[in-house]
């Protein structure tokens, strides 16, 4: 029996996209619906923001196409893993797009990054993930970046534990 039967996977083409997709596909065995979503924030359509986020020149079409390419690649990779998925691009702020898409497909889990793309302010908890975690009616799988990173504060904790 599938653990989750309706998965919404939020990707943005950044460095975590591969990892997020891997986890999603792991959890998608036997699922009915797997949807890859790329949310395109209208604020990123023009100027330097677009180049910074999507690596494209400014312009609505360019950004939209870049997002579509991201989800198309994910759907293809899923097919290779024997999973039938679909892709979607929504033009809205990421929190709105993700929660709306999750509600529309009646998702039972959202898979997404804990933090946003590198280069954007790495806040303690990403504002998008916090927004989704607070508003989602579904389970949320949050994938952190730097999964193999050593954490210096952990060592400090271990030192104190020994006291």
């Amino acid at each position: 029996m599938a653990i989750f039967s309706r998965l919404l996977v939020a990707v943005d083409g950044g460095e975590l996209t591969d990892t997020i997709s891997e986890y999603a596909l792991r959890l998608a065995t036997g699922a009915d619906v797997v949807e890859f979503l790329c949310a395109v924030d209208p604020a990123t359509f023009y100027g330097d923001a677009a180049a910074a986020v999507y690596g494209v020149e400014s312009g609505h079409e360019a950004v939209r196409k870049a997002a579509q390419d991201v989800v198309d690649a994910r759907v293809a990779a899923a097919a290779e893993a024997g999973i039938h998925a679909r892709g979607r691009v929504i033009e809205a702020s990421p929190v709105e797009a993700i929660t709306r898409a999750a509600n529309e497909i009646d998702a039972d889990v959202i898979v997404m990054a804990t933090h946003g793309r590198k280069g954007f302010a790495r806040v303690v908890l990403g504002s998008v993930s916090e927004g989704v975690a607070r508003n989602a009616r579904t389970a949320v799988l949050l994938v952190p970046s730097g999964l193999e990173e050593a954490d210096p504060s952990r060592h400090l904790h271990q030192i104190f534990k020994g006291l």
Binding site: I3, L125, A133, T138, L141, P144, L147, D151, L163
Partner: protein, 148 residues
């Protein structure tokens, strides 16, 4: 990508934690049939010289309650066909959950979105939020029991 066979689920007896346990058990059944649980008895920080030490709750009923809750969780898991081993630890919940996760080499932490109903006005509990912020492995945040 860390293997998913080492699962840590946070236990506190609350409804979201029960839902988290059910989800953790489903995951466990796909990946080896065993999971680890962590129940933290929140201590009180006390200043000892230059260090802050977490003093354990020494009220007998808190400890008894913790023992019951952890046993309940193990029984529920067994009924779902999963061998659950719950560690009951003293300290600050976020720190201890992350520490146990590290110790067991957890590939995923499963946690309820918030604790007891008394604090239901919080959309995201402080422990869940703290674990999300600092975990180096994926965190599965669970609100309710999975839909049938």
């Amino acid at each position: 990508m860390k293997p998913l066979h080492s699962i840590l689920v946070a236990i506190d007896g609350s409804p979201p934690a029960d839902a988290a346990l059910a989800v953790a058990c489903s995951l466990a059944k796909e990946y080896g049939g065993a999971a680890h649980g962590c129940l933290v008895i929140e201590g009180h920080p006390q200043l000892r010289g230059r260090h802050v030490q977490w003093m354990p709750e020494d009220q007998a009923d808190r400890r008894r309650e913790a023992a019951n809750t952890s046993r309940d969780a193990e029984v529920k898991a067994a009924l779902l066909g999963v061998k659950l081993d719950v560690a009951v630890v003293d300290g600050e919940p976020i720190d201890e959950i992350l520490w146990v996760a590290d110790e067991i080499g957890a590939g995923i932490i499963v946690i309820g979105s918030r604790g007891e109903p008394a604090l239901e006005t919080l959309l995201l509990g402080s422990v869940a939020q703290g674990v999300l912020e600092r975990s180096h492995v994926p965190v599965l945040l669970v609100h309710d029991l999975p839909k049938e």
